[in-house]
Amino acid sequence: MKSATSRSLAEIASLVVMLAVIVIFFAQASPVFLTQRNLDNTLLDITTIGILAVFTTMLMIGGGLDLSIGSTVALCGVVIGALQSTWGILPAAGFAIVVGALVGLLNGFLVTYVGINPLITTLGMLSIARGLAFVFSDGLTIPVFDLEGTQIDAYNTFTQFGEGQILGFATPVFVMFTLFIVGMLVLQFTSYGRAMYAIGGNDKASQLAGLSVRRYRMTAYMLSGLSAGIASVLLTSRLYAADPRAAPAMELTVITAVVLGGISLAGGKGTLIGTALGVLILTTLLNGMKLLSTSTDAQNIAQGIVLLVAVGLDQLRTRNINWSRWLRGSRVVPGGAGAKTAAGGD
């Protein structure tokens, strides 16, 4: 356990160094990079990714995967747009969060009870949610305004979700920070958090130990969908519009950030501090490249390289290479000393 903790600290330290290098590089390259305005913009821009990353982290620690979150964000936004005039904007926003949770619950049911591979299940849900978003919106972006002037107070409240401030932070940023803190507390100090590490580390052993693996995993999928609903409310409020094309390829960005932050694709490992650093590294890199007018192709390539490097590092960690033997010319030692324990988790 001690070595696992020190390894985890070393990983976080390496992420901090990586972030520092990126910040120093772009601070030198662009005079705008470290301005208050740009920092505020960057924080606001990462809220959707950040909120999704919190619950994707929990899910992946428990051995799950959700590729449908971006499409679920779009679907929930369209639900708000479609129901705003008949239900009222605030009930519509509440229902959108419920829809997100239901999508997650359905994913969880198909994965845990029906036994469909998580990749296939959530890939299918990605198409279904995006398709439904287009069907309910007729393919058009829906303006979110009080067109009839009958819900002025409700729309003012709704607008505050995206544009307001709490304790000096933009509301979406405050929500993201809050979710990160709550998530960290849940993972570190609750039986749910410990169970997710255990299940991700070895689900069969966890089952034998009396944990209800299916129930825990279903909850994690439901929370993942719920986070898409929350992100969608904040995004729709910021844009004053619900777009069926919203959050394009968001799942890839989120998974890249989460894996970069040290969450293992095999489950059972990682921390939300790592995820927060992964989100910051990825978005800082992309923000810096934007400020330098770097082409979109270059940004895509950079994101792809970051994903491959992150997954590569994850593989090396999982295979637990004995570097001193490797350097002496020996082969990789799969599952060598210090391999993942049944309980998993660092």
Binding site: V32, T141, A241
Partner: protein, 335 residues
């Protein structure tokens, strides 16, 4: 005489002193006027040829202007990204912004930022409240093609067509609808005998060549007696789909097609031997910048600019393609 000479001298001195002050007066009258400008350009997407040409044209026009630096961004067909790019432009202190964003619905929130900062905006193709509009004159662009098709029918088919295929794009709302309306009305008002309503077939092209091929392949067997068929199409790709379907059905000689865009694939079909693609209305995305950059400089230097600036559309056919794109089709133009 002596007095008037002195007076002249004093007048000349006063003028010499005042002349250098004129630019200062200008700067005070127009707070945004400067010697050099930084202009942000957020492109719709970098994934399609049309928008890549728009970007290249804007960069070329900025270079030609000599005092304009362009800061580039990509809206990636996404409202949230367009909003983030707007915030980034403001953080970078740009003097003006050219926004090619995806949907009118995001216009209010984007423009509220720029209005707060007093930054002038030119919106390409998608109008935004408070921004100068630049873009296609969709209805008239459509009419140009429709009228050309009507004239061809008058000259070659005794002013009468048996059926009309309308390859439209209903899900994309009013802009493509205006093009289609212009084409249909232009044709019907030009041709000697308009096509009867029950012989007009409205087909959803879904903006793709494959879908266009499919829906026309399904429709042609339902009009076996029609020997003079005209087709108006939303873009070059759908036009090519129509022609391919007619060829596959062995009825290529019975159809004549017009479209919108005149991109390289469309031009290739136009210059082909025995072409059934009469022509297409050109949008000239590569020239957008040469109208937009001067307009932006006018805005920044407080000169009057029309609230809407339209592309100068031309209907491109075999007769004029060499005037516009001779280098692209050397063999055809050498004939």
């Amino acid at each position: 005489m002596k007095f008037s000479r002195k007076l002249s001298l004093v007048f000349a001195l006063v003028v010499m002193l005042l002349v250098p002050l004129f630019p200062m007066v200008k700067a005070q009258d127009c707070p945004t006027a400067q010697d050099e400008y930084v202009i942000g350009f957020a492109n719709l997407t970098e994934d399609i040829v049309f928008t890549q040409l728009v970007r290249e044209g804007i960069l070329a026009a900025a270079e030609e202007a000599g005092n304009v630096e362009i800061v580039l961004a990509d809206n990636r067909l996404d409202g949230a990204t367009a909003l983030a790019n707007s915030d980034n432009f403001i953080a970078q202190g740009v003097d003006g912004v050219i926004h090619f964003q995806t949907d009118e619905a995001f216009g209010n929130v984007i423009m509220s930022r720029f209005r707060r900062e007093g930054i002038p905006v030119i919106a390409i193709d998608i109008p935004m409240p408070g921004a100068t509009f630049f873009g296609a004159d969709n209805y008239n662009a459509g009419r140009l093609a429709g009228e050309a098709l009507g004239e061809w029918v008058n000259e070659n088919w005794d002013g009468e067509a048996n059926a009309m295929l309308v390859l439209e794009l209903p899900q994309s709302g009013p802009i493509p609808a205006a093009r289609m309306q212009g084409m249909e009305e232009g044709f019907q008002e030009t041709v000697e005998t308009p096509v009867a309503d029950d012989m007009i077939f409205r087909l959803d092209s879904k903006n793709t060549q494959e879908e266009s091929f499919q829906v026309v392949s399904d429709t042609l067997p339902t009009i076996p007696d029609a020997e003079k068929i005209v087709a108006i199409t939303i873009n070059d790709g759908t036009a090519l789909g129509v022609i391919a379907a007619a060829e596959a059905a062995g009825r290529a000689e019975q159809i004549m097609v017009v479209g919108q865009g005149a991109d390289p694939s469309g031009q290739e079909a136009i210059v082909a031997e025995n072409s059934r693609y009469l022509g297409a209305t050109g949008y000239f995305p590569e020239l957008y910048g040469f109208q937009i950059i001067p307009a932006m400089i006018d805005l920044l230097e407080c000169r009057a600019v029309a609230p809407a600036i339209y592309v100068n559309h031309v209907f491109i056919n075999q007769e004029n393609v060499c005037e516009l794109y001779a280098e692209a089709w050397p063999d055809f133009c050498a004939e």
